[in-house]
């Protein structure tokens, strides 16, 4: 069976969930060969093997942390040349898309970005995209070269599928461009202990209606009662009430959880672009005319300062 390259997104060897989802999708079109780069690369092997990677190609060098994007493109290209895969799959993070695009150009292949599903087809993998703020669904394929496809988080279930996961050292020669953009400083983000926004099964978001950074506590309390991630609208982020990394929408994260709860969010098109594919949508808003109510499975017209704490209490009681 043909091999499929899967680019591994990991933090010091801990594989992030979207990569495990990619392995599920990769098995529909071939045998997954994973490529893990940077610090802790080899530590990813056990997890990748449990989820179907037949081989794990690893390489570490200072360049991956010290320079932006290009060293990773060089390495993925080396893996591409070593494996001659039938397709290359990369998680649709901001960086993932940049790596995938530069690789695709180098190998003379088309690229499909932000796929939400993937199937084998007669003429190669067929990708589903959710476009125009999720109001349309398209099916596309790459018609030239080896398909390079980036896939959004939450596009497939993570499935265990034990495979060999044999670790092999990848040999990489960096290009002249590799050292073009220096990373001169890095401030790690503090962990909140909550699930990662794009990976969470439940997302609880707050908007302008939350009316102040200090009030986000009630949004966080609801999130914690459900084991959820916290999101925010751009209005809340621009006001400085919540960090930009938590923004949901066109210029923030796009999320596709099982449950999305919008609190004090009107539902502007740019916000909907980032959450419209959520399976179940719930909103609390005091304005019965708010556009968010057009999307919801369940909506409460009311003041979030009354409804949210009551909901949180009730959830805690029910969970015992």
């Amino acid at each position: 069976m043909a091999e499929v390259l899967v680019y591994v997104d990991h933090v010091d060897g801990a594989v992030r969930k979207p990569t495990l989802e990619l392995l599920t999708l990769a098995r529909r079109v071939g045998e997954p060969v994973a490529v893990a780069l940077g610090k802790g690369a080899a530590d990813t092997a056990a997890t990748l093997a449990e989820h179907g990677a037949t081989r794990v190609l690893t390489h570490d060098a200072a360049e991956y942390a010290d320079y932006l994007v290009v060293p990773k493109v060089d390495a993925l290209q080396a893996a591409y040349e070593a494996v001659s895969p039938a397709a290359v799959l990369v998680p649709s993070s901001a960086e993932g898309k940049e790596i995938a695009a530069r690789l695709a150009l180098r190998i003379g292949s088309g690229i499909i970005t932000d796929a939400v599903d993937l199937e084998a087809g007669d003429e190669g993998p067929v990708a589903t995209q959710s476009v125009f703020a999720a109001s349309f669904t398209t099916k596309s394929r790459v018609s030239k070269g080896t398909p390079v496809i980036t896939v959004k988080p939450n596009s497939a279930a993570v499935e265990a599928a034990p495979a060999a996961g044999a670790v092999e050292a990848l040999s990489v020669t960096f290009s002249d461009q590799a050292t073009g953009t220096k990373v001169t400083g890095r401030t790690a983000r503090e962990s909140t202990g909550r699930p990662e926004l794009t990976e969470a099964a439940i997302v609880v978001s707050g908007g302008r209606g939350v009316n102040g950074a200090e009030n986000f506590g009630i949004i966080e309390a609801l999130a914690d009662s459900l084991g959820a991630a916290v999101g925010a609208s751009r209005a809340a982020v621009d006001a400085g009430w919540y960090p930009h990394t938590n923004q949901v929408g066109q210029t923030g994260k796009s999320v596709s959880p099982q449950l999305y709860i919008a609190n004090g969010i009107s539902g502007a098109i740019q916000h909907r672009a980032g959450m419209q594919t959520s399976k179940t949508i719930v909103a609390i808003n005091k304005d019965a005319e708010a556009p968010i109510f057009d999307l919801v499975d369940y909506g409460v017209v009311g003041d979030l300062f009354d409804v949210v704490p009551q909901l949180t209490e009730e959830i805690k009681t029910r969970k015992g």
């Binding site: 180098r106 690229i111 669904t137 596309s140 790459v142 953009t181 220096k182 983000r189 409804v307 029910r318």
Partner: protein, 262 residues
Amino acid sequence: MSLRIVVTVKYVPDATGDRHFADDLTVDRDDVDGLLSELDEYAVEQALQISENSDDDVEVTVLTVGPEDAKDALRKALSMGADKAIHVEDDDLHGTDVMGTSLVLAKAIEKAGFDLVISGMASTDGTAGVIPALLAERLGVPQVTLLSEVSVEDGTVKGRRDGDAASEQLEAALPAVVSVTDQSGEARYPSFKGIMAAKKKPVESWDLSDLDIEAEEVGLEGAWTKVEAAAERPARTAGTIVKDEGEGGKQLAEFLAGQKFI
């Protein structure tokens, strides 16, 4: 010293309009008004700020690849304060994918001459977010992308990139390609004076032959990807909406329990 900045700006269908696809599965541009992609306003803004903060002689050129109407996007950028504009227009461009678009933009940027390219983080229609990286690859210059803060001094561009796991400080020597996010700073509104001045600013028009690009390299035929189907997402079935009369939170909890979320 002089600094030549080329800002890439896309003309897109208004996101608040009823966007859909034409029979050939390309974006239907006739039914919805077009405008300058909002995120590219941030790119124009940063170019103008770099110009204003510089002792050098800075020239800001805005560049678009798009149909006749795309001139509207250029006019908007000129009225914000850009110095001149380039419009690449050719019937053969209809249906071009990211590879073709990046080819045309790269050739036009080379022809125009540049020290710095500034793009938006993503368009508001295709939203791929890959054109800046592709331009860097094609032009063979550093990519300094997704910046929420950018500055240029002594032939070096510096910026801050806020990622998921960390916030990074970046630095590269010019020439380079930069892309900016909507956190980089509010885009200015064109003033009346700006709008009047824009009418007199030069807009050059180039077609594929000016850029030595063959028709087969771009357009639907030349695309390296193929859209096979596009379907409107079925409208969500009307949900249950209750008015809070003191029990709204409890009612919602009941719904969530019924859906097995609790």
